[in-house]
């Protein structure tokens, strides 16, 4: 049976050599060419924007690009309470060509405080503030960086050499470029946000989505949906019920994860990683809220697609509507957008102030049987009404979970029984016997859940209705529930203590 092979070894060798050659050249081509440029991430147009009449929709989209840019090239808008990160730099040697790496000296601006990896500046925006390439029109009157002309191509902190390139989006549009000269000054803009973006895309985007809408590719599989940042609302915070989340709250959530959900702990992130991620998430939240509020302004003026067709049916001429809309977009919307940014930004700034923080006025009441009994009575009382949702035994099966709830902002009732959160997802009151505390298990955490409620959910704030002593009594009662005799022990079903020796390898 080997006669064929033996008779023509040369032919065989030639065939295999040809095959081998083809394969190896294919591999070589792939290795050299890679898989091509990965597609640029894009912000997704929000649902409420899509409902607007087309010209209004376009106006909102254009405003968003102007104010926030694109995911990997954010516009630095000084007005926003986001630490974009900024460095001042001076060129220390004169280069031959524009793109040559030159020795520079960098100083971080004093007002940029978020920890970051200072050596990773790649992709950050750059503005020449002196020298031949300097651009006095880089900022507009609103404090937005409008000329996204240059960015850091690479920076080596060991040699202090920095190479600049023209932003890929406008590469080719720039004419002759003057090489940097010794003494030229520049500012590196947004490296914190840039780093936050890179880390976000690696670790967070696949659930939370490019726009922070909670619609990333893996997010869709969960029964507990990933947070959609665009309402600016985060559930587990240390602030009062109307306040936003503090940076510390987001840091804590990322470090500790949210037990009982698909949000895992990212404890191993360093401060230099977590700082930029939190900044990027805050920026996404602000952007999302800015979009939704802009849409609401247009909806108020009756410029949703439905409104416009109604108005046309009602006898208004399309041209008249469009002219009015155009006037609004030209003369009023820029001011409106500015106010929105102020308002939204202001609320995030306010959350960082000391008076936004919820701190108990008195220490936790001693966890005695008396205190728990008082807590139990409050739990069932008409003041706190805890049992309405959390159930008589705290198992999260109160009567409200089977009732038809009123839809938020309307007087219509839902057609499906049960509770819903502000994002429209069905939600269950916590089973207090499970021993799982999503927002943390410190008494302080549970105090804050009761004091401020859980933002975006039907859990209301009790900070004014209940006295501190009463809240602590409820905390003591709630924290005793997992250990109560009888039901509700957090036991894993069918779990048994291995009686045999350990099995399996890995």
């Amino acid at each position: 049976m080997f006669s064929g092979l033996v008779s023509s070894p040369a032919r065989l060798a030639a065939v295999s050599a040809a095959k081998l050659g083809l394969l190896s050249s294919l591999v070589a081509v792939l290795a050299v060419s890679g898989c091509g440029e990965s597609p640029q991430p894009k912000f997704v147009v929000g649902e409420s924007t899509l409902k607007l009449y087309r010209p209004a929709q376009r106006a909102v989209e254009a405003e968003l690009v102007k104010d926030f840019g694109e995911p990997n090239r954010p516009v630095v808008w000084q007005k926003l309470p986001v630490d974009f990160g900024a460095f001042d730099g001076v060129v220390e040697e004169t280069a031959q060509n524009f793109s040559d790496p030159v020795k520079i000296k960098l100083t971080r601006k004093a007002d940029s405080k978020v920890p970051m990896a200072a050596e990773d500046l790649r992709g950050a925006g750059l503005i020449w503030t002196s020298g031949a390439n300097s651009d006095a029109t880089a900022w507009d009157q609103k404090g937005r960086e409008v000329h996204l002309d240059y960015e850091v191509e690479r920076y080596d902190p060991e040699t202090s050499k920095l190479a600049v390139r023209v932003t890929p989006a406008i590469a080719g549009e720039k004419g002759k470029l003057d090489p940097p000269k010794a003494g030229d000054k520049f500012t590196v803009l947004g490296p914190v946000l840039q780093q936050g973006h890179k880390l976000y895309m690696t670790h967070c985007e696949h659930c939370h989505g490019v726009s922070g809408d909670g619609k990333g590719p893996t997010g869709g599989y969960f029964d507990i949906k990933p947070r959609d940042y665009r309402l600016g609302r985060f559930k587990f915070t240390s602030t009062k019920s109307n306040d936003r989340a503090r940076r510390d709250d987001l840091v804590r959530t990322i470090r500790q994860g949210i037990p009982g959900t698909y949000m895992p702990s990212f404890l191993l992130f360093t401060d230099e990683e977590i700082g930029p991620i939190v900044e990027y998430i805050r920026w996404l939240a602000i952007r999302g809220e800015f979009e939704e509020k802009s849409d609401a302004e247009f909806a108020n003026g009756q410029y949703t697609a439905d409104d416009v067709s109604q108005r046309q049916k009602g006898g208004e001429a399309r041209e008249a509507i469009e002219t009015a809309l155009e006037n609004y977009i030209k003369s009023e919307y820029p001011g409106v957008a500015d106010d929105l940014a102020d308002r939204i930004g202001g609320s995030w700034t306010a959350a960082e102030q000391p008076d936004a923080l919820v701190t108990p006025k008195i220490a936790r009441t001693a966890d005695t049987a008396d205190s728990r009994e008082r807590g139990r009575k409050l739990f069932h009382s008409d003041t706190a009404k805890c049992a309405q949702c959390h159930g008589p035994a705290g198992k999260g099966d109160g009567p409200q979970t089977e009732d038809y709830q009123v839809i938020l902002g309307t007087n219509k009732k839902r057609t499906v029984p049960g509770l819903f959160d502000d994002w429209g997802n069905p939600i269950k009151p916590r089973d207090l016997t499970s021993g799982i505390y999503r927002g943390g298990r410190r008494p302080l955490d549970i105090y804050r859940r009761i004091y401020s409620g859980i933002k975006g959910t039907p859990m209301p704030p009790f900070g004014t209705a209940l006295k501190d002593e009463e809240i602590w009594d409820i905390v003591n009662y709630a924290m005793s529930l997992p250990y109560g005799s009888g039901s509700g022990v957090p036991e894993v079903n069918q779990s048994k203590i291995a009686s045999a020796s350990p099995v399996g390898g890995g």
């Binding site: 007002d111 940029s112 804590r252 108990p360 036991e491 099995v503």
Partner: protein, 295 residues
């Protein structure tokens, strides 16, 4: 041509052996000396097997090379290769010798296996002082320590603790603190799919199997942070299960638990929470006029 192929088949084992000799000097080698006694015993076994297979490999390759070259020479003339089949003596030798080697390995490793895998062999003091219960879940490690004041008198008491959390248990995630210098036991379970507890430098690897609570024993020799990963593909977020085993001298370990307790029972007033677990990104709102400064 036949000499060419004979040389190719002789060349590759030479390259293999050479690269095996050179690799350690280029730091392309195993992950460093094991940091636990059981890991050192496992390493000893590993190196013993490595030596056996190296000797066998070199021996068989030399024999094969000899046969190839000899065959090439013998068929230079007009003669044809000699076909032989069946040598009873040879068959017996290459059955008995490898069997003997395998049996030797099988018996030689029993003690190490038993020390690591048979929990009846664990020191009673370690079994009665479980360090923690580690629950793997997609995609993190949740840790529950018994309160430092909790003393277990009997094994059923430990089992009861594993079945039912107690109010003063301490909780953590993704960072397991352990004391150095004594054999310790942790209990591994999973709340969803199969995972595996793997600390490479300690050579500790154990599957977490749904429905089972599996004790793992090990001793860490030197303080330090050790890489801890999941070694069983458990889903799309498998790679996220990076964590850290932090080994500390006994005093530091106890201090850590005390700090954890203070943090966990923090009420925001009593000063329980003096130790903050999470250093935070500071940064107030930027003052106006940054745009001006940039120009």
């Amino acid at each position: 041509m036949k000499r060419f192929w004979a040389s190719v088949f002789i060349l590759w084992p030479i390259v293999a052996v050479a690269s095996g000799v050179i690799s350690p000097t280029m730091h392309w080698w195993f992950p460093g000396a094991a940091q636990s006694p059981i890991g050192q015993r496992i390493d000893d076994l590993f190196y013993m097997i490595l030596i056996i297979v190296t000797v066998v490999f070199i021996g068989t390759q030399i024999a094969m090379g000899y046969v190839l070259l000899r065959g090439a020479r013998d068929t230079d003339g007009p003669g044809r290769a000699l076909f032989t089949h069946g040598s009873h003596a040879l068959e017996v030798i290459w059955t008995v010798v490898p069997s003997g080697v395998l049996l030797f390995i099988a018996f030689y490793q029993l003690d190490t296996w038993a020390a690591y895998r048979v929990k009846e062999n664990y020191p009673m003091s370690s079994r009665l002082a479980p360090i923690a219960e580690v629950t793997a879940r997609q995609f993190e490690w949740r840790i529950r320590y018994p309160n430092p004041t909790r003393k277990f008198q009997t094994l059923p008491e430990v089992d009861a603790w594993l079945r039912k959390p107690e109010p003063d248990d301490l909780y953590a995630v993704n960072e397991l603190h352990v004391p150095t210098g004594k054999p310790i036991v942790i209990h591994l379970r999973t709340s969803d799919v199969q995972h595996a507890f793997f600390v490479p430098i300690l050579r500790i690897k154990q599957d977490a199997v749904p429905g089972l609570v599996i004790p793992i024993i090990f001793e860490v020799l030197k303080p330090g942070p050790y890489e801890w990963v999941c070694a069983e593909l458990c889903g799309w977020g498998h790679y996220k299960m990076k964590a850290r085993v932090q080994a500390d001298p006994k005093d530091d370990f106890e201090a850590y638990l005390k700090g954890l307790e203070r943090e966990q029972f923090d009420d925001g007033v009593s000063g329980h929470g003096a130790k903050k677990a999470t250093p935070t990104a500071a940064g107030e709102q930027k003052p106006e006029g940054v745009a001006q400064a940039a120009k």
